[in-house]
Symmetry: C2
Subunit: 242 residues, 2 copies
C-alpha cells in the first residue's frame, strides 16, 4: 500500500510538471495575441498588461525548473520519465523566450501608438496569427504526446520565414520612400523579427516533443530533401533580401 | 576497489560534461570575434567559415544534452552534482544561442561587404568587444566556480545595453540623412541587436553559475536598488529611443 501511494504521488508530480508547462504555454500564446492586438488597436493599456504579465511567466519557468530538480533528486526517474523531465526543462525555456518576444512587441506597440500609422502594420497580424497557431498546435502536440502533430508544426515554420522576408523588403521600401517612416518601420521590423523568432522557438518545442515521444532526433528522422528550418530566420536565402 | 572505480568514472563523466561546456563556450566566443572581424575587414571567406562552424556548435550542445541524460539515468546524482548537470544543460543552451547570433552577424557581414561602408561600423566592434569579454569572464567564472566573478559579468550587461541604445539612435539618424544608408544600416541594426542579445545570454549564464555555486537565485540575492538587466535589451527605458 505504501509503495503504491508513493508511485501515485510521483505520477502526480510528473503530471503537475506537464500541466504547468501547458499552462505557461497557453499564457505565452495569449501574450502574443494581446501584444499584436495592442499594436493593431494602439491600445497602450493592453500593451502595459502584457509587459507586466511577463514576470509571472518568468516565475513559472523558475517553478518548473525547481519542480524538475526536485523530481530528479527525490525520484531518480529512468527512461521515459527522465525524458519527460528534460523535455519540460527545454520546453519551458522556449516558452519563456516566446513570452519575452511578445513582451518586446508590446513595448514597441506603445512606441508605435505615438507615431503615424504605416501600411505594413496590416501584414504583421497575419504573420502573428500563423505563429500563434504554431504555438497552439505544438502545445496540443505536447498534451497529446503526438509527434506527427509536432512535425507538422515544424514544417510550417518556413511560412513564417517567407512572410518575414517579404515584410523585410516591404518595410525597407517604405523607409526609402519617406524618412518619416524610418522610425516606425524600424520598430515594425523588430516586431516582425520577434514573430519570426517565436516561430523558431515553436519548432524547437516540436523537436523536443519528437525526442520525448520517439526518443530520437527529429532532424535525423526526416528525409534529406526536407527543407530544415533555420534558427535566425534568414538561413540560406540571405542573398535575396539585401 | 570496485566502488572506488565507479566513483572515479562518475567524476570523470561530470568533468567531461563541464569541459565540453567550456570548450563549446570558447568556440562561441571565437565565433563572435571572427564574425565581427569579418564585418570590419569585409572578409567574406572568414564569414563563411563562421557560418559553417555553427553546425559543430549545435552538435556539441546535443552531445552535452546526451551526456547529461546519460549521467542522470545511470548515476542518479544528488544535490550539488545534480545542480552541475542542470547548469550544464542551461549553459550549453545559452552558448548555442550566442553562437547563433554570431552566425547571424557573419551572414550580415557578407551582405554588408557588398554595400558602401557606413560610419557606425566603428562602434559595433567596441560593443562586440565588451560582449566578448563578458563571455570570456563568465566562462572563467564557470571553470573556477566563482560566483562573484559571475555577478560582475551580470552587472556589466547594462554597458552593452547603453551602447546599443546610442547606436540605435545613431543608425536611425544615418538612415534619415540618406536613403542609400537604409539597407546597410538596417543590417547593422540587427548586428547590434545580436550583440546586445549575446550580452543577455552571458547574464543568463552568470545567473546559472550563481545558482550552481550558491544554490540560490541571483535575482533574490541582490539588494533591491541594483539595476537588474532586462531580457530584450530596451527594458525600462524604451521611452527615450523613439
Amino acid at each position: 500500500m505504501v509503495a503504491e501511494h508513493i508511485v501515485t504521488a510521483y505520477d502526480e508530480e510528473l503530471q503537475r510538471v506537464a500541466s504547468t508547462v501547458s499552462h505557461m504555454g497557453g499564457m505565452a500564446e495569449a501574450q502574443l495575441a494581446d501584444a499584436i492586438r495592442a499594436l493593431k488597436d494602439r491600445d497602450v493599456d493592453l500593451a502595459q498588461e502584457v509587459i507586466q504579465k511577463d514576470d509571472e511567466i518568468d516565475r513559472l519557468e523558475e517553478d518548473i525548473n525547481e519542480m524538475c530538480i526536485r523530481v530528479l533528486a527525490l525520484r531518480q526517474p529512468m527512461a521515459l520519465d527522465l525524458r519527460e523531465i528534460v523535455a519540460a526543462l527545454k520546453i519551458s525555456s522556449d516558452v519563456e523566450r516566446i513570452a519575452d518576444y511578445a513582451t518586446n512587441a508590446a513595448k514597441r506597440a506603445i512606441i508605435l501608438s505615438r507615431t503615424p500609422p504605416v501600411k505594413p502594420l496590416k501584414t504583421i497580424p497575419r504573420m502573428a496569427m500563423i505563429a500563434q497557431e504554431m504555438i497552439k498546435d505544438v502545445l496540443d502536440a505536447f498534451l497529446e504526446r503526438d509527434s506527427d502533430k509536432a512535425v507538422a508544426v515544424w514544417l510550417r515554420d518556413s511560412d513564417v520565414d517567407d512572410m518575414y522576408t517579404s515584410l523585410f523588403r516591404e518595410l525597407l521600401t517604405y523607409m526609402m520612400e519617406d524618412p518619416r517612416n524610418i522610425s516606425p518601420c524600424t520598430h515594425l521590423l523588430f516586431v516582425a523579427k520577434n514573430i519570426e523568432r517565436i516561430g523558431d522557438h515553436a519548432t524547437n518545442i516540436a523537436e523536443t516533443i519528437h525526442f520525448l515521444v520517439k526518443g530520437t532526433r527529429l532532424r535525423d528522422a526526416l528525409p534529406p530533401d526536407v527543407d530544415r528550418p533555420h534558427h535566425m530566420g534568414e538561413g540560406g536565402n540571405f542573398d535575396d533580401w539585401l
